[in-house]
Symmetry: C2
Subunit: 203 residues, 2 copies
Amino acid sequence: MTGTQNATRERIISAASKLFYSDGIRAVSVDAVAEKAGLTKRTLYYHFRSKDDLVAAYLEARDQPNLALFKRWFDEAAGELPSKVQAIFDQLARNAGHPKWKGCGFLRTSAELANLPGHPAIKIGAAHKKKFEAWLRTMFEEVGIASAARLARQILLLLDGSFAVVQLHRDPSYMETAGEAASSLVEMALRARLKGTRPRSRA
Amino acid sequence: MTGTQNATRERIISAASKLFYSDGIRAVSVDAVAEKAGLTKRTLYYHFRSKDDLVAAYLEARDQPNLALFKRWFDEAAGELPSKVQAIFDQLARNAGHPKWKGCGFLRTSAELANLPGHPAIKIGAAHKKKFEAWLRTMFEEVGIASAARLARQILLLLDGSFAVVQLHRDPSYMETAGEAASSLVEMALRARLKGTRPRSRA
DNA sequence: TTGTGTATATTCACTGGTCGGTATACATGG
DNA sequence: CCATGTATACCGACCAGTGAATATACACAA
């Protein structure tokens, strides 16, 4: 076992990831990926059955690291729940300022391949967003928010909306606006919980 | 002056619109558009300088009708402001159920062409969203909401978020969730206005 | 009325180049 | 010798865009 197989595979995925994220799927040829990875197209086709497989691998490789990053931003943020949610948006706004930032790779891929509903990459993207939504829901359930599922969806909608809008306008300030909205919605849900569990008149 | 020029141009744009919206920009060849329009590619290139020009014309043709549709849904909806805003999302959810629905053409185009920041089609898409946001802001200003600009942005974020998420999951119920969130945010802004302009319990 | 010039509008056939994918051969380590 | 991995060279299909010719319609002069 030489062990080069996985290393080569990772090198190809790394090259594909940069190119696909930067330029889109159909705008990047397999030749370009192979060249960036420093090998021949034929070698690439030894490690991947097709370009579609390569695209799927590109998103698959981004799934867990992306989720981990969001969780880290949430965990390391100070303050109460609304602030911790807002922190995700604020951190994202910082990233969005970099010139190489091009929005959400999962959303952009699914938008580009919208005419291929069964494409494996789209399934991976959908699963990724579902995982994020589920994680949010558990965060809200942990503090006793009754409408945790609905609130998680609303935060997801604001997040993906800011991906799209910031990518279109190249203006990260939309991300902060989304964070404020998210914070407000979380706060409202918390107040509803307090009224429900500890019925007391507000002063 | 035969007047056929505009008619042919419109026919080309109509064919391009269907194909670009359904399948994406780079997945549709100029030959395919010409065939769908019932003429030769060379004729198409007589009316449009390049494929990029054709893409721009495709979005340009969708700009005003799209805005008018949103305004109509808003105007014709019953109830107070929150309900009228939510009506946009509800109507959109109905459309999103149709099999040919593929999200927002402006956002999908800008996502696909994200590596060409100066592309005319992207500018048209950005301007379209800005017009919608500006219209929302005036609607909120008319009723005296102080944070009209911020609220308009938040609604826009929810709307574009639901475009992206519903297109990914093929589940229009996200659109209704976004509508509820939008309605809540509008209602909060209205309450803030009432407290500010008509101090009920305070002097 | 008829002939001619001109701008508009359309077609066929083509170019240089790129695409995703492959046939085949060669290397190298176990 | 065989499985793994890499390279050269190639395929047919398709791509955006073009050259050259042609059809059509109208303006205007003879």
